[in-house]
Symmetry: C3
Subunit: 362 residues, 3 copies
């Protein structure tokens, strides 16, 4: 438990962990548990404009086989992620990437989330002034069931550049969550009924690898929008809140929490992906450039793969969504590999969703 010494001998100065405070295999129980409510979902809709059918209506959730509507996948992710910030990235330079993010079971109003992490990799930078920390984190509900599980790596300052470097250990990370690891159970055989809620006919079979979907909407970020969202997640990273501190940084502005950008792109991507039931995995993600209040986001999606889950009623789509800012629209977004990103790119995310299949007898 925390006992940290700060300036002038103050023994209750909570400075967060620096690179040299992490040890391979170290386990951290993050404060504090959070009981989630439908109010979080309502506020999430207000902040992102989400129209995801499963979390929008109880009637849809019941037709899909759940007893009640769950909180939206990314809302759960942000709350869980936020819990790790004070211990992992309070002194972060940059959040470098995500891997093997698995949405393992739905989270309902009244569930209490508790988050813990294990340090699974360490690599000091050549400068000796910072290093990269890899953490495997997971969120459990009040029954002890894991609801979300992920790896991220973040560059963290050293407190003391003279502190010795730990042995370098970079964990092996999969390019994508393996198909058997995708949580696809528990849905109604009539999942295709979601189409009667979204009024869109396109189901799993109607998507094709290589298909490009341009999402027509655009969303301008306001300073209060992202601040409220990030505080709702109890994320304490000062870069999002302290305009005075950020005025001294290169961009001279508060940064929008990268997760808010993912959420806005997901909300925009509803048009063209209406029958997505839920995200089940984030295979990898990169915040290509920072987003600031006043920026306007657009995005487009490429279908990477149709994944046959061996289930008659549900398939998975592996998708890549790229978000850009302050561009005329999504038309210029390029999905090529091994090249520079298109101008204005802020987000490049590779993820897997569940979508109903057209039943053989339907």
């Amino acid at each position: 438990m925390a006992r940290q010494h700060g300036p002038q001998g103050m023994n209750k100065y909570r400075s967060g962990n620096f690179f040299e405070d992490f040890r391979l295999g170290m386990r951290i129980a993050h404060p504090t548990p959070r009981t989630v409510t439908l109010a979080d979902q309502s506020l999430y809709i207000g902040l992102t404009g989400s129209r995801a059918a499963l979390s929008s209506a109880s009637t849809v959730a019941r037709r899909l086989g759940l007893h009640e509507r769950p909180l939206e996948d990314l809302l759960v992710f942000h709350i869980a992620f936020g819990k790790t910030v004070p211990d992992i990235s309070q002194n972060g330079v940059a959040n470098l990437g995500y891997a093997r993010v698995r949405f393992m079971q739905p989270v309902f109003a009244g569930d209490t989330l508790q988050v813990s992490s294990e340090v699974v990799g360490l690599r000091q930078n050549a400068s000796g002034r910072s290093g990269v920390v890899y953490v495997h984190s997971s969120a459990a509900n009040q029954h002890g069931g894991i609801v979300l599980d992920w790896v991220r790596w973040v560059m963290v300052h050293k407190r003391d550049a003279a502190a010795p470097a730990p042995p370098t250990h970079v964990p092996a990370l999969p390019a994508a969550v393996a198909v058997p690891e995708l949580a696809a159970g528990g849905w109604s055989a009539h999942a295709a009924d979601i189409a009667s809620a979204t009024q869109v006919a396109d189901l799993w079979e109607d998507y094709a690898p290589g298909e490009r979907i341009e999402h027509p909407g655009g969303m301008t970020v306001n300073e209060s929008d992202h601040s409220i969202a990030t505080r709702l997640y109890q994320n304490t990273a000062r870069a999002h809140f302290d305009a005075q501190m950020m005025a001294a940084q290169p961009h001279a502005r508060r940064l929008v929490y990268g997760g808010h950008v993912i959420s806005l792109c997901k909300s925009l991507s509803y048009d063209g992906l209406e029958n997505v039931m839920t995200w089940v995995a984030i295979n990898g993600g990169q915040h290509v450039a920072p987003t600031f209040a006043g920026d306007t986001l657009h995005c487009a999606t490429e279908v990477l793969e149709l994944i046959d889950l061996g289930l008659p009623h549900i398939g998975a789509l592996r998708l890549r969504t790229i978000g850009v800012k302050n561009q005329p629209g999504p038309a210029a977004i390029e999905f090529a590999e091994g090249r520079e990103h298109s101008p204005g790119t802020v987000l490049d995310i590779d993820y897997t969703v569940l979508m109903p299949r057209r039943l053989a007898n339907a």
Copy 2:
């Protein structure tokens, strides 16, 4: 169900309906259902400052004869209205008017709203580049009961100016919702008890036709306020969200959703109309000019008519509220018919509310 073709042959480009896509008598089931919660009400209070007694406290709702407090009338209206936007006004030029809006039964937390529309009128503009669509929309709850019913007309772009004009049909619309259509049943015989919550003695009998009420408050709109409100309603009209797109428009700014202006004026109108139980009708409404972030609203109300419902405990008031922006206050607001609106007018709305009567033996 939607199957639309977009740029470069993309078959999942959702462009919304253009004028030539509408047909007289066409019925549209709007996506997606929405389960409402007290969180929506709480956020609505935060966004508008509403103090309406019925939706503020369970104790008041029970004294008025309901088992629980309902969501506020206009909150329900905005959520229901928002559902129609992707199909009806995604390509709208302007929302021209409302008629025969009827609040038919209270909506409670947990209710799921589903909205559908019928095209009841079409009139192509002389330019041939746009036309006016009249739609009759209604919102049903999960029991199939209609909770809200309204007509609006909106000017919509044509996709192709060469598309042939449909036969002109302009529906007959009443100047006001007929008295027998006002939903006034189900309230406690002791509705006048609302006065012990509001601490204001004025009841139905204390208002007089022609009476003018100046509401003392003023409210400045912030960019995040209206954005969060409009996203909460899952309203997707880009004019409210996409600052980049709007920078190319004449006003060079995002427009505030007109419904948010109605809500702010309703909240300001509490002072002087404290014992309004609920709105039961909007007879007609006009957004005289756009509102932008930074504008400060004031409003005044004229009592148009005292309507005797033939009930001993409840009467109705037909009211006209005019909202202005960036004026010294409500003092200069004029209610004359057949004249120009006062400078700065943004809203002119004619509506009917329920208010308790003074009981004969009280």
Copy 3:
């Protein structure tokens, strides 16, 4: 009940009370009751970034002996305070101070708060144009139990400078809430379990009188943040909302509600005071200077006193938190008595909290 006459003989112009409208001993029942929900708590987290463990998770609340998580202390305060504004400080010049604020029992979702006040002091200013009103206010729940009780004094305009001055009566107010008046009952004998939620070991015994705690965070206030918060509390003071009216005032800007500043400082003070269970008293408080949107807040706390409640499991800490704006951080904050405040000081508040003790056998 209100019957007020306004400009041009309008008899429903609600102007609020002026100094000459108050009488010593006068009792006011404030409109309107408010039923609180977990949505208010969720929105409060979004607006302030609060991480207070007791209100964050049901599991923590249950371990501390409550059946459910209560709404956060200051959220209850702001809602109750807001109810008094239309009657007490609608025509206020300045909110001068608080005394003997007692948090008497927890408030849970579903509780309905009703607020009333008694005028306990009056002192006309030498100018004859305003005066100071002292009110003792209290908030009751639906069972009639007092949940919050406080005295504040506020400078209020006179409507008519020629109105005669009332006899001066300034109530005797304690420097601090007396120890026997601190509501400390009803907590689990295992209150120290909160440390397993916060992951911080410091309990009551680990604090020392004179100890200084610098809270590392900083928070920039956005215009929408404070507007939404203040409307959520149904606080109608125009200085927070009407930018046009405020443009004519010396600061030419909307004022941030002082209570929002207290809440932001409380949220920042979490780092270093993690195991605070709840605030039980505000002994006194002063808004030293106004806060505006764009200001960045920092704060530091001095431990004034360790109060032994005669209980084995819980003690109280009397604390003084000073908030500053637009300073490099909390390092320059000075706690000396009888001197000028440090530059940039906006808040100086003296309050008492409950914190678990280390059990003898632990």
